[in-house]
């Protein structure tokens, strides 16, 4: 008998082991739901699976009586748009500032303390400020995401740039490169896969800020919907929405990972944990 740490499950068995907990959760839910519904058919806390299908069918495939929109898809598009713009803008800012900070000591001395200070401000605490300054429209939601994740991304990028071995920077200089050329050919291409990795890490926070902003001031969006139907205890809407958000988060993460693997094979081959 091998030691436990040396025993590897075979591939199909690994799949099975991974799926079992989900099944158990599902069965527990159905059991609990049935028990509550048997006692009170109007119970709203743990609706039957059929109620989820019904609610989603209504939101996703029937136009809303009030606005004529397909609410579920409208919410999804609005939220993804905010998330995409917020994260995209943050990544771009982080790339520029992180790379310049990391490569040019004078800029780093000038900006690094400020960025560290900003990164310590709790973004939710300045949400009211954003609403006051940027109004209740799209901008303040995007700015919240940006303020929430950009300082982290910049600091991470700066760190990654500083981790590039100095031998490489010296070598580039002996090959005749100036500062700009070192940035575009040596530093930038090497931090791109690392930027994708940090964006993936910051997505959780980005979703948090998105849903928070939507919950407080919005007229559509996944977070808005959840907080809206909370008033009616509509678990039949909330739970599928949460599931959907989780699925979207997973899909975005998965897509970024595949993108990075495809664009930067050299990065993933040399850093096993980079996958």
């Amino acid at each position: 008998m091998k030691k436990l740490i040396n025993q590897q499950p075979t591939k199909p068995f690994r799949w099975l082991l991974g799926i079992i907990p989900f099944f158990i959760l599902l069965i527990l839910y159905i059991g609990a739901s049935n028990a509550r519904l048997a006692e009170n058919p109007n119970d709203k806390l743990l609706p039957a699976l059929g109620s989820f299908v019904e609610a989603m069918d209504r939101l996703a495939f029937e136009p809303s009586k009030r606005s004529g929109e397909y609410v579920f898809w409208q919410d999804t598009v609005s939220s993804l748009e905010r998330l995409g713009i917020g994260v995209g803008v943050s990544a771009l800012i982080a790339l520029i500032f992180g790379v310049v900070n990391g490569t040019i000591p004078y800029v780093r001395a000038n900006l690094s303390p400020l960025i560290t200070a900003i990164s310590l401000v709790p973004p939710m605490a300045i949400l009211p400020v954003l609403f006051i300054v940027f109004g209740l429209g799209e901008l303040s939601k995007i700015v919240l995401i940006a303020i929430g994740i950009t300082p982290f991304l910049i600091r991470d990028m700066q760190q990654r740039v500083l981790e590039i071995p100095s031998e490489q920077l010296i070598k580039a200089q002996t090959l005749g490169a100036n500062t700009w050329q070192i940035i575009v050919r040596v530093v930038l291409p090497q931090v791109m896969p690392r930027l994708i990795a940090s964006v993936r890490l910051s997505l959780g926070a980005a979703w948090l800020f998105l849903i928070a902003a939507e919950a407080i001031a919005s007229t559509d969006g996944l977070g808005y919907r959840i907080f809206l139907v909370r008033r009616y205890l509509s678990m039949d809407v909330i739970l599928p929405y949460v599931l959907w958000i989780t699925l979207l988060a997973f899909a975005v993460d998965f897509a970024l990972r595949k993108l990075s693997l495809w664009l930067y094979p050299w990065f993933h081959d040399q850093t096993p944990e980079g996958a």
Binding site: Q168, K171, T174, G176, R185, W266, Q270
Partner: protein, 269 residues
């Protein structure tokens, strides 16, 4: 006037003297191997030649001009590790120098300029024997092949001076012998002036034209940092007889045993 003049060069960090009174001249085409105990300042000396460190006192001139105080295309370098770009293939690594030179803004070449640069790079890659691997990334290459790439990358710039900082320190003995042959060939073919730091005395006695030994000739046990290292032996390679070699060996071992040596210069062991 000699090609490289080193005039009374000192290097001090605070009151730690790393190198003192270095005086020497180097002719074009000299191949100098440098040995010395850990922490004796040979890497510091190489850094001064490279331009990442300046001398505290004294001056180094190349062709009658003071050495530039930052790394530039005048001097090529091959480090023990990390001197190729991991995100570029072998070919891209070698073409890079031409792209830096001819495209100051984009640093990329297109069309016929690119073709010409690629051809030149292929010749250089051929010279170091990496032709079968032109489309591989450095992490797919063995240590010896990576060092070949680093050499090709440096040589395409046709540097007047090539600096090698323990380039073969991480390689297996068998591969090392191949690399020696390669470096000797390239040195003759491109008429380079080479400075090479090594830890391998056999390598030092065999490669190149001159052997320099860095060592402290004065030691104050109360203040180990009070005196710096100097070039204690400077002899033509080939003339190192048994007696001299035993003496050099002895002086190096003595230093190695003396581990209270401050590693101020960040010298690799």
């Amino acid at each position: 006037m000699s090609y490289i003049n080193i005039k009374n060069v000192w290097k001090e960090y605070g009151d730690q003297v790393v190198l003192e009174r270095i005086n020497n001249t180097v002719e074009k085409g000299d191949f100098i191997t440098i040995v010395g105990a850990s922490g004796c300042g040979k890497t510091t000396f190489l850094k001064m030649l490279l331009g990442t460190e300046g001398p505290s006192r004294g001056i180094i001139t190349v062709a009658n001009e003071p050495l530039h105080a930052e790394p530039d295309a005048q001097r090529g370098i091959v480090f023990q590790r990390y001197s190729v770009f991991p995100h570029m293939t072998v070919l891209q690594n070698v073409v890079l120098a031409r792209e830096f030179e001819k495209s100051r803004f984009l640093s990329r070449l297109f069309g016929s300029a690119k073709k010409q640069a690629v051809e030149e790079a292929l010749t250089m890659i051929e010279a170091v024997g990496l032709t079968p691997a032109i489309n591989k990334y450095p992490h797919e290459l063995s240590g010896g092949m990576q060092q070949r790439l680093a050499i090709a990358q440096a040589l395409i710039k046709k540097p007047r001076i090539l600096l090698l900082d323990e380039p073969f320190g991480a390689l297996d003995p068998g591969i090392r012998a191949d690399m020696h042959q390669l470096v000797l060939d390239l040195w003759r073919r491109y008429k380079l002036t080479i400075f090479m730091i090594t830890h391998d005395l056999k390598e030092a006695f065999y490669l190149g034209t001159r052997l320099w030994v860095f060592d402290k000739d004065r030691i104050d046990p109360q203040a180990p940092g009070a005196f710096g290292a100097r070039i204690t032996y400077d002899m033509p390679v080939g003339s190192v007889d048994e007696k001299a070699s035993a003496k050099i060996r002895e002086s190096l071992q003595q230093e190695d045993a003396d581990l209270d040596e401050p590693a101020m210069s960040g010298v690799t062991p």
